[in-house]
């Protein structure tokens, strides 16, 4: 029976085990005792038969009248007073089979010849008129007489069963007491569990500090340790999300401040040129905040859909589409954008996400590349891994700043571009979904920046996904 309470289960198990062990012990002891008693009984009967063989005829008759008790043992006499069946019956015959003496209750079905000869001497069990009799027959080689002792079987086994009952009764009475003690013991052992439950139950949703319970049993310690580790991870993720929300709010405040101040300038402006300029800047600031909102939405959706179904996607097709749409909407003058290495590579990815990734990389390259710059998109294979790389020959990023490029809201200080600071963190996030790895290195001819996204080769996805799933940093780039 499977019960859900450990206490109840332990209780049942312990009690059942104790009962079984007790029962087995009792049964084996009973058998042992029965065997011993049997041997002792036979000895007793043999002794009685021996006595009868040496008693003379006159005394035999007398004995047959008063009855004969086979033992002088105190215990058996006491038992005899309770159990009349313990009285021994006997018959003694001469060598020719003539009955010399017999007690009145001797089963008479036995023929006179049954005692003749030596073949049947010893202990036997006979059945007469539905009663079992233990018999013992002894021949005397001197007088030729035979003596046979009869004893009813029921009377004989009484001794063992009586002793067994006396032992079993207190044991049975002890069982409920034992159950009570076990119940109490188990309850006491479970007290720390209740304490831990109370400690966890009393927590609010925002209380994520480790569970501190003194004197925890070794069995519960791993559970508490695991819970504390989970709480720690939750706490970190909670803080990260909170920092992200706060950063996002601050980032939104900047374009809002710009909109407000430019609108007020326009309202107060005296001449039309100044007013027009201010209104153009209002539009620009609105574009910027909607871009920021768009990027935030992309990030939020990415967080929701971390279990995107990946399929084999032809990278060069998507890259070519992205480049074509850039060229169609017009590149800044002097900028050359091209697909330089165009291997027919496919990677495990999602077409839409891959397009967002490439678009963000192109955005960055266009923003931070130089005015008459080169932007190259390359797709190639590197140690079995499909690789996508976007590089420019712009100002590049200092080594110290490169490690923080994927951080949300991180912008290299001093740049004049009005980015959201989210582009590369979107790239990093999408790469994580793909199980890909993002690397930042110097770009074309050692100038500018190259962003290399290395996809896992077919069959090695799991391992590199773990690697890419390292916690994101949310260090603030500074107030603004």
């Amino acid at each position: 029976m499977m019960t859900r309470s450990i206490r109840r289960r332990l209780m049942l198990l312990v009690l059942a085990s104790v009962t079984i062990v007790w029962a087995v012990t009792l049964i084996t002891s009973y058998r042992q005792a029965e065997h011993e008693v049997g041997e002792w009984d036979n000895g007793r009967l043999e002794q009685a038969a021996g006595t009868l063989l040496v008693v003379d005829s006159a005394n035999l008759k007398k004995l047959a009248e008063v009855g004969f008790i086979g033992s002088d043992d105190d215990d058996s006499r006491r038992i005899h007073t309770e159990e009349t069946s313990r009285e021994l019956q006997f018959e003694v015959r001469a060598a020719d089979g003539q009955l010399l003496a017999s007690t009145p209750k001797v089963p008479l079905t036995l023929g006179a010849d049954a005692l003749v000869g030596t073949s049947r001497s010893g202990a036997y069990t006979l059945e007469v008129d539905g009663h079992h009799w233990n018999t013992y027959t002894l021949h005397s080689s001197v007088t030729g007489r035979s003596a046979r002792i009869f004893e009813r079987v029921g009377g004989r086994s009484n001794l063992t069963s009586d002793v067994s009952r006396r032992i079993a009764r207190p044991l049975a009475a002890a069982l409920p007491v034992l159950a009570l003690l076990i119940w109490f013991g188990i309850s006491r052992s479970f007290a720390p569990l209740a304490l831990v439950s109370r400690e966890i139950g009393a927590r609010g949703a925002d209380k994520l500090d480790p569970i501190e319970v003194q004197q925890v049993p070794d069995e519960i310690r791993p559970l508490i340790d695991a819970l504390n580790k989970l709480l720690d991870r939750l706490m970190k993720s909670f803080l990260r999300e909170r920092a992200f929300t706060s950063d996002a709010a601050h980032e939104l405040k900047t374009p809002l401040a710009a909109i407000k101040v430019q609108a007020q300038v326009a309202l107060a402006a005296q001449d039309a040129v100044e007013q027009r300029l201010a209104m153009q800047r209002v539009v620009e600031a609105v574009d910027r905040s909607s871009h920021l909102a768009q990027q935030l939405l992309v990030l939020a959706r990415l967080d929701e859909t971390s279990l995107t179904e990946l399929s084999s996607v032809a990278m060069n097709t998507i890259a070519r589409n992205c480049i074509a749409s850039r060229q169609a909407s017009g590149l800044p003058s002097g900028v050359a954008l091209s697909l330089v290495q165009n291997s027919l590579m496919s990677a495990q990815a999602d077409p839409t996400l891959l397009q967002i990734l490439i678009d963000n990389l192109l955005d960055n390259a266009l923003k931070y590349g130089s005015c008459n710059g080169l932007i190259e998109v390359a797709i190639f294979q590197e140690q079995l891994n499909p690789v996508l790389s976007v590089r420019d020959n712009g100002h590049g990023v200092a080594l110290a700043d490169r490690v923080r490029l994927g951080d949300r809201f991180f912008r290299v200080l001093g740049n004049r571009e009005s980015g959201s600071g989210l582009g590369l963190s979107i790239v990093t996030r999408i790469a994580t979904v793909f199980g890909a790895h993002v690397r930042y290195t110097p770009g074309i001819g050692g100038k500018g920046l190259a962003v290399t996204v290395s996809f896992p080769s077919a069959g090695s996805r799991g391992e590199s996904f773990e690697q890419a799933d390292t916690p994101r940093h949310f260090d603030k780039p500074g107030e603004s």
Partner: protein
């Protein structure tokens, strides 16, 4: 009234610059901490409007450096990080006022004026000088209750001289209060403005000290 604006964001910077200029201030706009430090070393400003998240040198460090050099120019911090601890640490670093983004341009201008008049030891906007009553915010001057029509620049020069009574101001100093970095300075402009002021207010108000500049005597 020359103001240094330190702001790295193009859109906000250009807006604040235009707004302050509309209010009659001469504005210099520095886009990073180093440029601001350099400007503060070479020019005397009446007020600094400071953003905290700056490239190269953070606003807080710039402010601490300024105060360490015993520069008492009023500083108004303008930032998106406007939680109470942020405000407290900003004020503790030596700022005189704190305004969170997004802010109201009229409030910014009003706070700037309040800081300026406190720095000049006044508690109201109006400046009273003999028969004259000057309102620097409204650009109005009255003499014995009658309005005197002054141009913006004339008014600015008058306010500059009135707020430094008894202290001669050079022609260059007056020019600085009129023009920001990008504005072109008209030659002889100061002389023209002074002569117009004397025509409108009477010759005795502004005295010329040869080789030094102009002064409005303390009454």
């Amino acid at each position: 009234m020359r103001v240094l604006l330190v702001e790295d964001d193009d859109l906000i910077g250009s807006g604040v610059e235009a707004g302050l200029r509309q209010a009659g201030f001469a504005v210099d706009w520095a886009r990073d901490g180093h440029a601001a430090a350099l400007a503060l070393d070479t020019t005397e400003y009446e007020l600094v409007v400071l953003d905290l998240g700056l490239p190269k040198l953070s606003g807080t460090d710039l402010l601490k450096g300024l105060r360490a050099r015993r520069n008492d120019t009023p500083v108004l911090i303008l930032t998106a990080r406007d939680s109470v601890p942020d405000r407290v640490s900003g004020l503790a670093a030596g700022a005189d006022d704190y305004l969170g983004k997004p802010f109201d341009l009229t409030e910014l201008v009003a706070r700037c004026r309040a800081l300026l008049r406190r720095a000049h030891g006044r508690s109201v906007e109006q400046i009273y000088y003999g028969e004259l009553q000057v309102d620097p915010a409204a650009f109005t001057v009255t003499r014995l209750g009658h309005n005197v029509a002054l141009t913006g620049r004339e008014c600015t020069i008058l306010v500059e001289l009135l707020t430094h009574q008894g202290q001669p101001l050079s022609r260059a100093r007056l020019e600085e209060s009129l023009y920001g970095w990008q504005e072109e300075i008209e030659s002889n402009a100061i002389e023209v403005h002074i002569s117009n002021l004397r025509k409108k207010l009477g010759a005795s108000v502004i005295r010329t000290i040869r080789g030094v500049g102009y002064v409005v005597d303390k009454l």
